[in-house]
Subunit: 215 residues, 2 copies
DNA sequence: CTTGTAATCGGAGTGCGCTCCGGTTAGTGT
DNA sequence: ACACTAACCGGAGCGCACTCCGATTACAAG
């Protein structure tokens, strides 16, 4: 199945494409030059996106702008999708703080079903707000979305809420995937272009779906 | 620079990646050499897949094996994803005949809700049966699945059934997308590898999703 | 300071999807 | 038969993601 190389090192600095959470006890501190280059890469990428748009964000261009080699970028970020996810990291952490420890109904304190609804709405808003970047990230590599740190966190969060909300029997893991699936930027892009649907339509549709299956 | 592009051509023979349905005959019949080359391409592609797997199905290799140029492949099939979808065309047409005109509960005659369930199960079976090819097609280009003919047909079919099954109010177009989303080969691949889920788990999960409102 | 070594760096190289456009061929009017 | 045109063909070439591996450098032990 997975005929991969023996040791394509699990990128020591950033395990997945993106650090999913606070990430307990780091073992190996980053070397000084590595940290400096990471900042250079991220800054260069941001600059290019701001100036020319995501479309022009090629790895070679980022390397040139940052004044380092492309190999370094792949060492730190895995692939182009990982680089783009890293660009979204700051917003993602804010978002995670909000639904993990913020005020209700998004944060703890509200009924689980209400939190699910608030979470899906907030996620829809987030996708809408950073549509270009997220779409580019999902388009960059085939399974990029599912392999990303944020997806794992969102899925885990939903599983927790759904387990609290529902009697056992239904598979919360599947339901979580099914609720997240419509919030793919790739699908939303298609819905917008081919059917003229808006983000509001998606949110309303998700409400219908929730009333349908959980109501 | 007078690079006039009179027709970024809607491929006359097969519009889009794949002919969605019988396709009312309005277009000119295919030229003899074009038809011959199409067969050559499809045969060569099948041969390569059978011999080396989908992974080795590069466009250049198909062109070489078929004894034609790569430009011809792109003219007929649009892109690599279109070529792979064309490989699935025969099975797809059988499937479409089954749910459009076959025996119940998949075909006409059963209650709309029962047909929705039968359709989703049949589609899950289909994805499972041709997993490698479908996964490769969806992975080949970013939005390949949504742009494909089969997806449009499946979506339209579901919208019809859902409209019959439910009073107005809910957006049937969104619901159709939401029900099709979990049957993405990309997602199922992730569920299998990362969570150990099987195709049966997906079918059961879809049933759970349907059960509440449709008893 | 010197040496050892493991992590890091960089950029030429590779593979592959896709485009471009001059040459060729099939089908039609005369 | 013959010219004419629109569709078709092919393969060199391009852009870009990603890999490879020898040179380099940070850091610690002696």
């Amino acid at each position: 199945m997975d005929s991969r190389r023996p040791a394509p090192p699990p990128p020591s600095g950033a395990p997945g494409p993106l650090t999913p959470l606070p990430l307990a006890g780091r073992t190996a501190p980053e070397r000084a030059d590595a940290a400096r280059n990471r900042r250079r890469i991220l800054d260069a990428a941001s600059r290019i996106v701001a100036r020319h748009g995501v479309r022009e964000l090629t790895v070679d261009l980022v390397a040139g702008e940052a004044g380092i080699g492309v190999g370094t970028i792949y060492r730190r970020f895995g692939d182009r999708a990982g680089l783009i996810f890293a660009l979204l990291d700051e917003h993602e952490h804010r978002f995670q703080r909000d639904f993990l420890a913020g005020p209700p109904p998004l944060g703890p304190g509200a009924e689980p079903v209400a939190r699910v609804r608030a979470f899906l709405h907030a996620l829809a808003d987030r996708v809408t707000a950073q549509f270009e970047l997220i779409l580019a990230a999902e388009s960059s590599a085939p399974g990029a979305r599912y392999r990303s740190g944020p997806y794992a966190v969102h899925h885990t969060h939903l599983v927790t809420l759904l387990t609290q909300a529902r009697p056992p029997g239904a598979d919360a893991r599947f339901l979580a995937d099914a609720l997240l699936a419509p919030l793919s930027a790739l699908l939303m892009d298609h819905q917008r272009k081919a059917r003229g649907m808006t983000a509001q339509d998606v949110k309303t549709g998700l409400d219908d779906l929730l009333r349908w299956s959980l109501g």
